[in-house]
């Protein structure tokens, strides 16, 4: 009986958490008209969420591009096809790896920080104090955070894409014997082969990053606002925020890919 009770409680808690997060998302959207009064807080959050994350994002992106280029290039070399490495790295980075890597970094750093900040404010009654002062915590705390990450995640993803492609180029030049201009040219050609203004591989990647930005920030805020019970409660909120964000990033990533490349055609 105990196992059934625990399983039931887990399902119930998960449903409540999902419901709370969705409600939070809708209430944040409804609070958007108040954004002009929160410009300073939003810029502060953009700095914390975006600018401070650039160094780690750059390092991860350059090495991800280098690993991708080396692993794939060595296999292609066996068949004499290693000159395609520019195409492969560019498409992989823009479609999938750029948004995915950026989102994981932001979930681990910014999403967890949001859960910790709001969780600490919650357990020390600061959120309740805001409500008592007739200040809507969603307008005051959640809106700037969600807007900041929703804007910064695509921007950082573009940076990750570019740096990852450049990292791949370093390996292609030094390890695979391909000239850097040739590598760059094949990367550019693979992204613009359909002749569109903004290549599909790029805009789908940016769209994914936008979805991931919303997801990470809403989950981080939601877990923080539901934190209970002192330091342990804040720890649990942070763990829950990172875990849920990671799961949603991978699931939503697949769904967006399926919609754009399967449902709507390649």
């Amino acid at each position: 009986m105990g196992v059934i009770n625990d399983a039931g409680k887990l399902v119930l808690d998960s449903c409540q958490g999902a419901g709370y997060s969705l409600t939070l998302l809708f209430r944040t959207i409804a609070a958007l008209p108040h954004l002009p009064f929160k410009v300073r807080f939003t810029l502060d959050q953009m700095f914390a969420a975006g600018i401070k994350t650039i160094p780690v994002t750059l390092v991860v992106a350059v090495f991800a591009g280098m690993i991708l280029s080396l692993q794939t290039g060595l296999e292609l070399q066996k068949y004499g096809q290693h000159t395609l490495i520019g195409n492969i790295v560019a498409i992989s980075m823009c479609r999938e790896m750029g948004p995915f890597i950026t989102a994981l970094i932001l979930a681990a750093t910014v999403g967890s920080a949001m859960a910790a900040e709001l969780g600490t404010m919650n357990v020390s009654e600061e959120i309740m104090a805001l409500e008592v002062m007739s200040i809507d915590p969603i307008r005051f705390l959640v809106l700037p955070r969600v807007v900041a990450l929703t804007l910064m995640c695509p921007i950082l993803t573009i940076l990750t894409d570019l740096v990852g492609i450049a990292g791949g180029g370093i390996v292609a030049t030094t390890q695979l014997g391909i000239s850097f201009p040739y590598y760059l040219n094949s990367a550019r050609e693979s992204l613009t082969s359909l002749g569109q203004g903004l290549p599909k591989d790029v805009y789908v990647g940016i769209f994914k990053a936008w979805i991931f930005g919303i997801t990470i920030s809403v989950i981080g805020c939601s877990c923080g606002l539901r934190a209970r019970g002192g330091a342990i409660g804040v720890g649990n909120a942070v763990r829950q925020a990172v875990k849920t964000a990671f799961l949603l990033i991978i699931i939503l990533g697949y769904i967006v890919t399926w919609i754009f490349y399967r449902l709507l055609g390649s």
């Binding site: 600490t120 404010m121 020390s124 009654e125 600061e126 309740m128 104090a129 805001l130 409500e131 008592v132 002062m133 007739s134 200040i135 809507d136 005051f140």
Partner: protein
């Protein structure tokens, strides 16, 4: 004759199987200071949170300025709370804002005052609580007594008609405790606010209270003016209020 500003009638509240309030009824007249004392877990803070609409009672009526609080929607609650101030036990100042910004926050968010007008108003209450030297400090870098005074200043900034105090002296040394009591009394005398004060300190109850109520197991065991309560024959009342005033 003053009118009842806060009215609780037969209020029940439980958290799961744990019954906290079991039929609480009392009235607070306009301008009156109502002190609630009692052991831990007897429902004192829950009563305050019920009055301000942070908790909904399971049954019973909670009326503030004639409005049935549990029936108010979010907008109604926000309007009502603009007439109320709340002093939290640990201050609950926003930890990443300076003392000045914390006190200015309700005005910046809810009023159309200019920054200069806000500054004047904030400095007035800061002078009242004698915190001029701490305006630019963060809550982390000030003492418990200063946090309480800053929190009181924040509660006063909207010129509230009602202030609810949740253990205003908790964790303070006797001298700072006395300073806080004096401030609360000063605020009542100067601005005529209606107050509900939850405290464990006899000195606080006798300094600021017009009516003192003793809570026991979610019910009001006894209530009355300080002089009457001091002479009560009930053992629990004597344990809380009898003997030497600390």
């Amino acid at each position: 004759m003053s009118k009842p500003f806060i009215v609780l009638e037969n209020v029940y509240k439980a958290f799961g199987a744990k019954k906290i309030l079991q039929g609480i009824s009392f009235q607070v007249q306009e301008g009156q200071s109502y002190v609630i004392m009692g052991g831990s877990g007897t429902g004192k803070s829950v009563t305050l949170k019920t009055i301000i609409g942070m908790l909904k009672p399971d049954s019973g009526s909670v009326r503030v300025e004639g409005q049935e609080v549990p029936a108010l929607d979010r907008q109604g609650l926000m309007r009502l709370r603009r007439d109320m101030g709340y002093l939290f036990q640990d201050g609950a100042l926003i930890n990443w804002m300076t003392v000045f910004d914390n006190i200015a926050l309700p005005l910046r968010e809810n009023s159309k005052l200019t920054e200069a007008e806000i500054r004047d108003k904030v400095m007035d209450v800061i002078r009242l609580v004698e915190l001029e030297h701490a305006v630019d400090l963060l809550p982390d870098s000030i003492s418990g007594g200063m946090i309480k005074r800053a929190s009181l200043a924040r509660a006063l900034i909207n010129d509230p008609k009602i202030i609810l105090y949740d253990e205003p002296n908790a964790g303070l040394d006797p001298i700072m405790s006395e300073t806080i009591n004096r401030l609360i009394k000063d605020v009542q005398d100067r601005f005529g606010v209606t107050s509900v004060v939850v405290t464990h300190k006899r000195a606080c109850a006798f300094t600021v209270g017009d009516i003192i109520a003793i809570f026991d197991q979610g019910k009001i065991l006894a209530e009355g003016p300080p002089g009457e309560m001091r002479n009560s024959e009930l053992p629990l009342v004597r344990r809380f209020l009898g003997g030497v005033v600390d």
